[in-house]
């Protein structure tokens, strides 16, 4: 009996201390990790969509609450005018969530450009969604009013051959982005006006 209590006690204490330590490290590194992801994953994607912007979109950003989530918006100015907002949405891919940076053109109410950020799709098949610029280019100019779909589902996006699930995931993420934009449009416009 004594031995049993000792075993339970040791395991409990060890797990508790370990949990505490991990929570501490997690909180301590959170800002740095977010910053690294911003610099090395999101930043390059945003800059490549907004090539030619007159500001640094990574620096001009704001967050808005959307239901329970917080969404981070990056502002792209062209000739000094805030013309696009960029934010990240996710679709269910073949190997997990596919992250998509979507730039919305606020003056013309259409998609300005997209780029895949994080994914775990199969190399050579689904991973081409990130690597093949022609695939992402199809999203440019898509209207925000209707769902964005691959051509097999009645939309106008040509799916990557051999990667239908990934192509659908990217379309889902883009559609999600149009819905988020629709929901938050008044707040986004307020924020854009208050920008220096």
């Amino acid at each position: 009996m004594r031995e049993m209590i000792k075993m339970i006690l040791v395991l409990t204490i060890l797990s508790t201390v370990s949990g505490g330590l991990l929570a501490y490290v997690k909180v301590g590194t959170k800002d740095r990790i977010d910053n690294q992801v911003l610099q090395l994953v999101k930043g390059p994607a945003i800059r490549s969509i907004l090539a030619g912007a007159s500001n640094d979109p990574v620096a001009d950003r704001f967050t808005l609450p959307d239901g329970e989530n917080e969404i981070e918006f990056f502002v792209g100015k062209f000739d000094g005018q805030p013309k696009t907002v960029v934010f990240e949405t996710f679709g269910k891919g073949y190997g997990g969530d596919v992250g998509l940076m979507v730039a919305v053109d606020v003056t013309q109410n259409q998609i300005y450009g997209v780029e895949v950020t994080t994914h775990s799709e199969t190399a050579g098949l689904g991973a081409r969604a990130k690597e093949d610029p022609a695939f992402a280019a199809q999203f440019k100019g898509q209207p925000l009013t209707k769902p964005i779909q691959v051509s097999g589902d009645g939309g106008s996006i040509n799916a990557l051959s051999g990667a239908t699930i990934t192509s659908r995931a990217v379309c889902d993420a883009a559609t999600e982005a149009t819905q988020v934009y629709d929901r938050l449009k008044p707040q986004i416009e307020d924020k854009l006006k208050s920008l220096p």
Binding site: E3, K6, M7, V10, L11, L14, S15, S18, L21, L22, V25, K26, T29, R32, I33, Q36, V37, L40
Partner: protein, 204 residues
């Protein structure tokens, strides 16, 4: 039979170098050694976990009931692996992305658990630290050695943190990279050849 501190430290470099002599921990050895810097990064991450878990386990060795010792070791090892994972994400994000799933897999690396069970749970803190450090550095060197052989033959270069320190095609004009070496079968062949050389040299 108490052996000297220096013996416990240096045995990891030749006598008991993990992937070659003990033939343990082969999964990352074969998986990440396409470039020398991945080998070094993986080796250092493993060394950190090995030293920390060895120290803690040898400190707690008289408190841990023997019936649940494996569970306790795994908790300790997994904690340090998660710490390494978070630290790498925070400070060396690029390397973390490249090593990918192999970092969390250090938890099940049999070298770490093997040293905990075979050494740290029976020896004092100083000896266990020397053991962890020696085995860890031996492991790092082994990964770096295999990584450099594969990178040199497979890509023709040796690159450490973005700086090419050696380029074969500039020494031997007309050198063609031997692509086979950076693919998975090349890992087995490279490991086998290094093992063979070590056995030849070590043979008395």
């Amino acid at each position: 039979m108490a052996k000297s501190l220096a013996h416990e430290f240096f045995k990891g470099f030749w006598e008991e170098v993990p992937p070659f002599r003990l033939v343990l921990g082969l999964c990352p050895v074969l998986g990440v050694t396409t470039k020398i810097q991945f080998g070094i990064g993986m080796g250092l991450a493993t060394t950190f976990v090995l030293v920390c878990s060895n120290i803690l386990i040898s400190m707690l060795r008289n408190l841990i009931p023997s019936k649940v010792r494996i569970a306790c070791f795994i908790i300790i090892v997994a904690t340090f692996v998660t710490v390494v994972e978070l630290m790498m994400q925070a400070f060396t994000y690029g390397l973390f992305k490249q090593l990918g799933v192999f970092i969390p897999l250090i938890v099940v690396n049999c070298i770490v658990l093997g040293r905990a069970e075979a050494f740290a749970s029976k020896n004092n803190v100083i000896m266990s630290t020397a053991d962890g450090l020696g085995i860890g550095m031996g492991y790092t060197l082994a990964l770096a050695a295999l990584g450099s052989v594969r990178e040199l033959l497979g890509a023709g270069t040796l690159t450490v943190w973005g700086d090419p320190i050696l380029n074969l095609s500039s020494i031997f004009p007309g050198f063609q990279p031997f692509k086979f070496m950076i693919q998975a079968p090349g890992a087995f062949v490279g490991l086998g050849l290094l093992l063979c050389v070590m056995n030849m040299v070590g043979k008395k």
